[in-house]
Symmetry: C2
Subunit: 153 residues, 2 copies
DNA sequence: ATACCTGCAAAAGCTTTGCACAAGG
DNA sequence: CCTTGTGCAAAGCTTTTGCAGGTAT
């Protein structure tokens, strides 16, 4: 199982739990099941893939709940939402992951993550310069993975 | 007329013209009309807004042609396509504009452009490091325009 | 008990596609 | 002429919404 990440699932659930309490929202089994499913993955997935995967595991859940819960998890910073060029939102778990950005292969769709401190510098400087309070960002580099790209898109 | 930009419209048409010739594509009046319409704007617009605006000017054109032509213009680098967080493609003319990125206000939707040479440095370094040939990128900073934001969204 | 949440299906919104007709080369 | 491009409408896809029934608190 792919849950050997920096934070174990119990810790994540606890954070979610606290958020739900603070916001006076209900602790439904669906919400925890979706959280668990997301944290068992290590990829960038879309809402439909998550939905299908839960169905496959015989977990009865609706698309509406998947979308609602994804929004909720994005709000409390346990999940990050991305747009990689197409009109399809992709998600990934975010807790315990260093802030990072993405390099996307135009041919095979492969996604590689990277960190660069200059991104933070740009955010700080541009915020000051243009009088914006910058709260988040999205940086995607597009190209192709030289050589070993198999167009498995 | 808002065509007092760095490159005049004739120059742009000439570039488009050359591209169409090279690609053995037809020089239809619709294509030039759409190009002209785009270059008369200085904002970030979506396909529907462009379509509506052409209709308003009594230019008979279809959505299909608008989408086709936008794709075509993106291909030949006369137009840039963006995704600012939502699932709605936004476009802007690109010729003669320094490469730039965007700062988007979450409250009022205002878009401010900026340039930072560090973006190019990041592209170069990450391409080398991860063995990718980086051909393009998208960097958006999200936040809010301190003070004077009127939530006119 | 009573909001809130869920499931289901329909609707909405952007974009693509199919087909018949038009027109560029 | 022949093939590409266009208009129109329908279909496709992702995401949102409305409503009736369920359930956490």
């Amino acid at each position: 199982m792919a849950t050997n990440t920096i934070n174990n699932i119990e810790e994540v659930k606890e954070i979610f739990n606290r958020h739900l309490t603070e916001q006076k929202m209900r602790k439904t089994p669906e919400r925890y099941a979706i959280l668990e499913e997301i944290y068992s993955r290590n990829d960038h997935f879309d809402a439909e893939a998550l939905y299908i995967h839960m169905k496959t595991k015989n977990y009865r859940v609706s698309r509406a709940t998947v979308y609602n819960t994804l929004d909720l998890l994005v709000t409390c910073d346990l999940v990050k939402k991305h747009q990689f060029g197409d009109n399809l939102a992709k998600y990934e778990k975010s807790l315990g992951y260093r802030q990072h950005d993405h390099l996307i292969c135009n041919d095979c769709g492969k996604i590689v993550e990277f960190c660069d401190p200059r991104v933070q510098q740009i955010k700080n400087m541009m915020g000051d310069l243009l009088n914006f309070k910058v709260t988040s960002h999205s940086l995607n580099l597009y190209g192709n993975c030289a050589g070993a790209c198999e167009k498995t898109k």
